[in-house]
């Protein structure tokens, strides 16, 4: 059976992607999450209520041993399974001025967004290569493309992920594996809940924050067979705030 794995899939954009891919592409979903059991189970319920299938995999993508152990256990229990779609969505923010930034705020953000991509994707890509088909979608951010003041750590992590996306895409395209990045701007999630939408939307040409489901629509397309000729791209979804 062929599966889609969404890291950081218990809430926000990750949840919307998990639900959308289950519904539109009919993949059984593997939802990775780090700690929020309640939110993860809600995601599972939403998918199952809509007729899909969802397995929760609890691990910290920043921890390579934890990541490998959970994925290996699942693969041993499901020897015929193939993870055909990987959505690297897990990420955190630790905003603040760079001059005051603590080492842990720098490293935590890079460990989850950037090393998490390595820990998960590197472990699964060999099997994807032998299967000669796959979709890898990395959730980056407008911050990783243009840079955002107060988010030097997050911008660095996402910017590095943009470069990794382009490089890996060239490396494995021959095996019908595409690698793309999706760069959302202001999207209504927990991550942006404390932002002043009224104030900020003035600088967004579309004049509103985006919905997680809109990002999920784009990711679902990239995860589908319809996107076969798109690889190494960074697709902005930001209401026109940056292009």
């Amino acid at each position: 059976m062929k599966y889609a794995l969404i890291t950081g899939g218990s809430r926000g954009i990750g949840r919307a992607i998990a639900v959308k891919i289950a519904k539109e592409l009919q993949y059984p979903i593997l939802v990775n999450y780090q700690s929020n059991d309640i939110a993860a189970n809600e995601t599972k319920k939403i998918i199952e209520d809509e007729g899909g299938s969802c397995t929760l995999l609890k691990f910290n993508v920043a921890d390579i041993n934890d990541t490998h152990q959970v994925l290996d256990t699942w693969m041993e229990e499901n020897p015929d399974a193939t993870i055909e779609v990987i959505v690297n969505n897990a990420g955190i923010t630790r905003d603040g001025l760079f001059m005051w930034m603590k080492p842990e705020d720098w490293h935590d953000v890079l460990n989850i967004s950037l090393n998490g991509f390595y820990n998960v994707t590197n472990h699964l890509v060999q099997k994807m290569l032998t299967n000669r088909y796959g979709r890898i979608i990395n959730l980056v951010s407008v911050s990783g493309v243009k840079g955002t003041a107060g988010q030097v750590n997050y911008s660095a992590a996402k910017g590095a992920l943009v470069a990794a996306t382009k490089a890996l895409a060239q490396e494995i395209a021959k095996r019908k594996i595409t690698v793309n990045a999706v760069a959302p701007g202001f999207i209504k999630t927990d991550m942006t809940a404390e932002m002043d939408e009224k104030e900020l939307k003035r600088m967004i040409p579309v004049n509103r924050f985006g919905e997680a489901e809109e990002v999920a629509d784009l990711v679902s397309f990239l995860a589908s067979k319809k996107s076969s000729y798109i690889t190494g791209e960074v697709i902005n979804i930001n209401g026109g705030i940056y292009s």
């Binding site: 032998t130 490396e171 494995i172 021959k174």
Partner: protein
């Protein structure tokens, strides 16, 4: 495992999975050229070796392995270690 058995098993999966003509395989023949390998194809070799012999090779194991004899030697060393 006996050297001859290793050679036999290796040639068997190469002929089957890499669609190479058995007559083109000789100890001194160029591995990459004969099998028409690009860098990504090594992943298929690794998988075939693991399935056949139960040993896992990594990319750096192939450094300097440019002909079939060196390839047999590499597998023999791994299998018997």
């Amino acid at each position: 495992m006996d050297t001859n058995l290793i050679v036999e098993k290796v040639n068997e999966f190469l002929i089957e999975e890499f669609e190479v003509d058995g007559e083109d395989i000789s100890p001194e023949a160029d591995l990459k050229e004969t099998l028409d390998l690009d860098s990504l194809d090594y992943v298929d070799l690794v998988v075939a070796i693991e399935a056949t012999f139960g040993v896992k090779l990594v990319g750096e194991d192939f450094v300097g392995v440019d002909n079939f004899q060196k390839f047999y030697d590499l597998i023999e060393k791994k299998v018997n270690s």
